[in-house]
């Protein structure tokens, strides 16, 4: 087990990358603590899988270093890293039985037969396939195969980390929840470092202690699920996490006020005059409607989604969402909203800025 550090990492799939656009990973500086449960969250094509393959040694990065407990492993082959990885689509060895599949990584490491038997028995119990050990892997269903892939990942006790590359894509929804919970339990029990790649925020939030959000080849934020929700460090995080995502409004910042389409919105602190494109962001959960004062919006639609309602509105042409409890009163076409100052984030060129003074929430 090891602490894994990525230092000044960049990767391009082209042999001679010219500008930044050619890089799948731009600049990554990141450390994974030993025994952490991480989620790597981001939209498709943001570089998550590339990052994973660099950690496991399937790819050698164009630039930068991969350190395991301070030892440079950048060029080391996969076999020297002792990392387990589970891929998006199940990979099983068709001609082998379930038992042989699970034993395969151990046999390749020339472990003793007794030890292998013990581990296989244990892992098969974890994934709930102890009855099918003698079966051929070929005839299994996709989710059974993926369970075997998971099992192969966990059969080695001494792995430095287990990487999951969207492992539950092919699994039935009810099984997904169960397997994710099991993974979480396994983590708590054995303390392996686990890195779980997903584009599904719920999966990330329920699995991980720490979530790493990636966007366009960069890490935009590392934080606990709560931090990501309450204090997104980048507009992408605000917009990507939460359902619906954070409302982002073009604004001008004037001291401790923001001006949006001529309306003055008080902020929780004093901000320096920023250079660049400024936006304010507020979660739909914190937008509330009021009878007097506030900013006028046009309500276009109200969606009832069970326990709460989502109000779709427009503020001077920009869409604005609000989440209301079910018992809240019906709204007129034109209503007024207020934003609690302590819940407003200020973003300059998409990155969050903190106030110079004043009581932040």
């Amino acid at each position: 087990m090891a602490r894994i550090e990525l230092s000044d990492l960049a990767h391009s799939y082209l042999s001679r990358p010219r500008d930044e656009e050619d890089y799948a990973l731009k600049t990554i500086d990141l450390a994974w603590d030993d025994g952490g449960a991480y989620a790597l969250l981001g939209a498709s094509g943001c570089g998550k899988s590339t990052l994973l393959n660099i950690i496991s040694g399937l790819l050698v990065p164009t630039r930068g270093k991969v350190l395991f407990d301070g030892t440079d492993m950048t060029e080391a082959p996969t076999s020297a890293r002792n990392i387990a990885q589970v891929f998006q689509f199940p990979v099983v060895y068709d001609t082998m039985s379930v038992r042989d599949n699970l034993a395969f990584p151990l046999r390749n490491r020339r472990m003793e037969a007794d030890y292998i038997r013990e581990r296989v028995a244990k892992v098969s119990r974890m994934i709930g396939m102890e009855d099918q050990l003698a079966r051929k892997a070929r005839g299994l269903t996709a989710d059974e195969k993926q369970k075997i892939s998971l099992g192969r990942g966990m059969v080695r006790e001494d792995v430095n980390a287990i990487l999951f590359d969207e492992p539950l894509t092919v699994i039935d929804p009810h099984m997904k929840w169960e397997l994710r919970t099991q993974l979480r339990q396994l983590h708590d029990e054995f303390g392996h470092t686990m890195i779980y790649v997903t584009h599904d925020q719920t999966e990330a939030m329920t699995f991980a202690d720490k979530v790493v959000v990636m966007h366009d080849g960069r890490v935009v934020q590392l934080g606990t699920p709560d931090e990501l929700f309450e204090r997104p460090g980048h507009t992408f995080v605000g917009y990507f996490i939460g359902s619906p995502g954070m409302n982002l409004l073009d604004a001008e910042i004037d001291g401790s006020n923001a001006i949006v389409a001529g309306h003055v919105i008080p902020l929780a602190g004093h901000y320096a005059k920023p250079d660049g494109r400024t936006k304010i962001g507020i979660r739909p959960e914190f937008v509330s409607f009021t009878d007097k004062g506030g900013i006028p919006v046009n309500v276009t639609r109200v969606e009832d989604v069970g326990r709460h309602r989502i109000v779709r509105a427009e503020l001077a042409g920009t869409p604005l969402n609000a989440v209301l409890l079910e018992q809240a009163p019906m709204l007129a076409d034109t209503s007024h909203v207020i934003f609690p100052p302590e819940q407003i984030g200020v973003f300059v060129d998409d990155w969050r800025v903190e106030p110079q003074s004043g009581g932040a929430a």
């Binding site: 399937l58 387990a84 990885q85 891929f87 990979v91 060895y93 390749n108 003698a134």
Partner: protein, 291 residues
């Protein structure tokens, strides 16, 4: 894919049916006709039953040819299949060199068979051939016209030269179809090269290898032109394979009845052995089941 039931689709198949019937059914019927009849010319036939079959089965000639044929087919399969797989594994996966290799390897497949024979005939002649004269100078008797061993070695080498590329191309296509994830998973599981071949590549190649073996078996069993050009079936009749013998019988000696009976049995043997191959390969799966 779910198929629509539609008997009018027969009309689309009709042209194929008509053409193949013309070039297969009518000739086959002629063959069957000859096999059971005798003639003194002028298209007058009389029924002789299975007499021709008895004659062919009773003579050593066909059995000898069949034996030579089986040894030949077994030898070329035993060389070409492993060699083809090895070359396919050694080939670059992509890029210009992959294309160059493919084009060079496909070359022997597109050379007319008599030219293949000519190439090897001149290549192995002890007076003007590079291989033949080199071996001759090394003191090895490599006279195809007199030495049966040399004739056999040449015929087998020629077939390997001519057809291994087919196995290579099939195996290469099969290897290309294996998703990267399998190799990555094997790396993660720390599998060695042999384990990757045994548990990842070989199982995925089973389908194409079945086809390669079937094609190579059928074609080597039907081989005619190349040995005909190189050895003419000799020295003596040591390289007279079934097809050569059959053509000798039919066109050379005009023994229509025995030749026809011979043809029918020849065809049936190929069908039978192909079917056995196919069934064995298909059943391999079930037998492989763990204890």
């Amino acid at each position: 894919m779910e198929k629509t039931r539609n008997n009018r689709a027969w009309f689309m198949v009709l042209p194929v049916l008509a053409l193949v019937a013309f070039s297969a059914v009518i000739p086959l019927m002629t063959v069957v006709n000859y096999a059971f009849n005798d003639t003194f010319g002028n298209n007058v036939f009389f029924w002789v039953g299975v007499e021709w079959f008895e004659e062919v089965l009773g003579s050593d000639r066909m059995w000898d040819a069949l034996q030579r044929q089986l040894i030949f087919s077994a030898a070329v399969l035993a060389i070409e299949v492993p060699l083809g797989i090895a070359v396919a594994l050694a080939m670059p996966k992509k890029g210009i060199w992959a294309s160059v290799c493919l084009v060079l390897m496909a070359l022997p497949l597109l050379i007319p068979w008599n030219v293949v024979g000519t190439i090897w005939q001149v290549f192995t002649r002890i007076d003007i051939g590079l291989l033949g004269s080199t071996l001759h100078q090394l003191g090895i008797d490599f006279n195809i016209g007199q030495n049966a061993g040399a004739a056999w070695a040449t015929v087998i080498m020629m077939d390997v030269w001519h057809w291994t590329s087919l196995v290579v191309l099939l195996a290469y296509a099969g290897l290309q179809a294996i998703p990267d994830a399998y190799y990555q998973a094997a790396k993660i599981d720390q599998a060695g090269r042999w384990a990757v071949f045994r548990y990842v590549e070989l199982p995925k190649l089973k389908g194409v290898l079945l086809i390669a073996i079937l094609l190579r078996f059928m074609d080597s069993f039907m081989i005619y032109t190349e040995p005909f050009v190189v050895t003419g079936g000799g020295p003596g009749s040591t390289t007279t394979f079934l097809s050569i013998d059959l053509v000798k019988m039919a066109l050379g000696q005009f023994d229509l009845g025995p030749a026809a009976a011979f043809s029918i049995m020849y065809f049936l043997v190929i069908l039978l052995i192909s079917w056995i191959f196919y069934t064995i390969m298909m059943n391999l799966d079930r037998q492989e089941r763990p204890r």
